[in-house]
């Protein structure tokens, strides 16, 4: 990794939450909201940070050493307010927001609740909607290998291997297990038992130009949801990628990065 990533802590929700933000790059601000497995600075964020200042906050409770951070946030409404506070603390009036999976749902909630707080929106395989005929997989009740099977285009490929890797050092392995499990516990607070909490009624409020990114082979959140989002967001378009499942930004790193960067620059 060549990117120099710095860290910052800010206070939100009357000081009850104290999220950590990883920051890198220079240029117009982009806020990146991570998915259920927790924040990992990856090649996609490296790519974004070449033209942007990337602010990647950790969702409440998911920062190592601060597991009780989740206690400040009771529900989705608190979570959205938490992010407005966080934007205020970072001096971001109306940044571009990129969200993956659970982070995509949160990004959409932020942009729908107060449309003035998002200049552009990129939703990568977001959860947040529900169709009985193509249900979202209940990944929080599945074993890691079951999740890998549906989340990756190639569950045995290098991307899957890298994302699911267990560190050799025992202490690092413990920390990885703790971080990913507790990240799912904390993000699961807003997704249990199904990740559909009424977003469909709010999406119409989004004003930001919106790019919806999906992997054609996503079996965790099937690609049919791309159109469900697009139909409800006025200024939106869909871009789907082949040989990619639930993590298209890693499985098709170059193509997705290029598309996202062009969209953000345009």
């Amino acid at each position: 990794m060549t990117t120099a990533v710095s860290e910052k802590r800010v206070a939100t929700l009357r000081g009850e939450a104290n999220p950590r933000i990883q920051i890198a790059g220079e240029g117009p601000p982009v806020v990146y909201l991570h998915g259920a497995m927790g924040l990992v600075w990856d090649g996609f964020l490296d790519s974004l940070s070449q033209e942007h200042t990337v602010y990647a906050p950790e969702h409440p409770g998911t920062t190592p050493g601060d597991p009780d951070g989740i206690k400040a946030v009771d529900d989705l409404w608190d979570l959205v307010l938490h992010y407005y506070d966080l934007f205020d603390q970072l001096g971001l009036e109306s940044p571009a927001i990129v969200g993956h999976s659970f982070g995509g749902m949160v990004a959409a909630e932020i942009a729908a609740t107060n449309p003035d707080r998002a200049s552009k929106l990129v939703l990568i395989s977001p959860v947040g909607l529900w169709r009985d005929d193509v249900p979202v997989a209940q990944f929080l009740t599945m074993s890691p290998s079951e999740v890998a099977e549906i989340a990756f285009f190639d569950p045995k490929g290098p991307v899957a291997e890298q994302v699911m890797a267990v560190p050799e050092d025992p202490e690092a392995a413990v920390e990885t297990a703790l971080r990913t499990t507790w990240s799912q516990a904390c993000t699961g607070k807003f997704m249990w038992p199904l990740p559909e909490k009424g977003l469909r009624k709010r999406l119409y409020r989004i004003k930001a130009p919106t790019l919806i990114v999906w992997g054609n082979q996503d079996r965790l959140v099937p690609p049919a949801y791309a159109e469900e989002f697009a139909d409800r967001i006025a200024n939106s378009r869909v871009q789907k990628f082949d040989k990619a499942a639930h993590l298209p930004q890693l499985e098709q790193l170059e193509a997705v990065s290029k598309t996202v960067r062009e969209f953000l620059a345009g």
């Binding site: 009740t141 599945m142 703790l178 607070k189």
Partner: protein, 416 residues
């Protein structure tokens, strides 16, 4: 010592290849392939008959519990069973031990307070009010409770129930999970200020702390037997001492599988297949079902991962499938054998664990009705009388048993 019969009400006739054909006994076994409603009606009636028989034979209590969507033990409404048992035992001195209604999944939780009060009224003050947190399969997967909120919901429901039982005035409850404008419970329990509360647990520190803080009875429910329980119960008793409470053995409950026959050899003939059925089929549960993220609080999760406990549990569950009947008996997962064997082992186990409220699972897995009756009968006549005086020399009172039953030493059943 007080000894109660526990019953899970399992499916008694799962196919031989159940564990090969299906991924889990819990949450997702297909009803239409595996069960028949009329036959299940027979199971429920046998269960009620067996528990009623145990009461007539002099067991001190009868225990039922709540689970959902499984073939392991499916009494989704434990108080329906409790009501039938309370009515059927009205001329007896048997405690109705509900282990019980699951607090975080009963909404609003005053429903638990109401139904338990009904049971206490119907039974003339013989209720033991079990207050389980709920298994992750039941509470999180089946009943949709957000794992990270489960314990908070439990604590709030507990406080609400205790207040609803005791308050002289109507009150408003402005909780995080429950808002009720006018709480004014009808009926109230006979037992004052409230029925004894038993808290089932699996060895976690937070449940010990909770039980101690409220002066409830802590019940260690494990299927891994008396020997494996020793470490947990030693931990519990040293916790109790550090907490500044008296080491009254009745402060603790323990569940043990028990199977009695004429001889040790005969016990193997009678019970081996049912014990194996229980461990191989009734506990056929994917390990990750026990740990949806957030079901454990962060400290317990960290402790579990660091100690390797989570992995050990997985290995242990895997190993059980290879166990023979002798392995289960030698390791005291089941205390089984002749009356003399069971008597001696059970008395020693209860003594080692310092348990005053013993629960015995006398129906195990696929055990048919007639064999269950035999087990109950032999246990009641040839084992139970030798257990009762276990704690007498220390002079403790069972403060966690219905008051009107505490001082009654049940007469030895006919035939002893």
């Amino acid at each position: 010592m007080q000894v109660s019969m526990f019953h899970l009400m399992p499916h008694r006739e799962l196919p031989d290849d159940f564990e090969q054909r299906y991924s889990s006994v819990w949450v997702d076994p297909p009803w239409w392939e595996l069960a028949d409603a009329r036959r299940v009606g027979q199971y429920y009636n046998w269960t009620l008959d067996e528990l009623t028989y145990a009461a007539k034979m002099g067991l001190d209590g009868v225990c039922v519990n709540e689970h959902h969507q499984n073939a392991y033990g499916f009494m989704p409404g434990p108080n329906l069973m409790g009501a039938a048992l309370a009515r059927a035992t009205n001329d007896l001195n048997t405690a109705i031990v509900q282990m019980g209604s699951t607090l975080p999944t009963t909404n609003p939780p005053i429903r638990v307070a109401e139904e338990y009060a009904m049971l206490d009224c119907i039974s003339g003050g013989r209720l033991v009010a079990g207050m389980p947190l709920g298994s992750p399969m039941d509470a999180n997967q089946v009943y949709g409770i957000t794992p990270i909120e489960q314990r908070e919901r439990y604590y709030e429901a507990h406080d609400l129930i205790l207040k609803a039982w005791q308050s002289r005035e109507m009150f408003a409850w402005n909780g995080k999970y429950q808002q009720l404008g006018k709480v004014n419970l009808w009926p109230r329990p006979i037992q004052q200020p409230y029925p004894p509360v038993w808290v089932p647990g699996t060895g976690s520190y937070s449940t010990w702390e909770f039980s101690a803080r409220h002066d409830h009875c802590y019940c260690y429910l494990s299927y891994f037997g008396a020997q494996a329980a020793l470490q947990v119960m030693n931990g519990f008793w040293s916790f109790v001492e550090d907490y500044g409470l008296k080491k009254n053995p009745y402060r603790a409950g323990f569940l043990q599988l028990v199977a009695v026959s004429e001889t040790d050899e005969r016990a193997e003939l009678d019970y081996a297949e049912h014990v194996k059925y229980f461990y191989n089929k009734c506990l056929h549960i994917p390990p990750h079902y026990f740990g949806p993220p957030g079901h454990q609080d962060y400290r317990s999760l960290e402790k579990g991962i660091r100690s390797g406990f989570a992995n050990k549990m997985q290995e242990e569950l895997g190993r059980l499938k290879q166990y023979s009947y002798r392995d289960f008996v030698d390791n005291q997962f089941v205390i089984a054998g002749s009356p003399a064997t069971v008597r001696e082992q059970l008395r020693q186990a209860a003594k080692d664990l310092r348990v005053g409220n013993l629960m015995v699972l006398l129906h195990i897995g696929s055990m048919p009705h007639h064999l269950t009756i035999k087990n109950i009968s032999m246990f009641a006549t040839e084992v139970l009388p030798y257990l009762r005086d276990l704690w007498d020399d220390e002079g403790w009172e069972n403060e966690w048993f219905p008051e009107r039953l505490r001082m009654i030493r049940q007469p030895a059943a006919a035939g002893s």
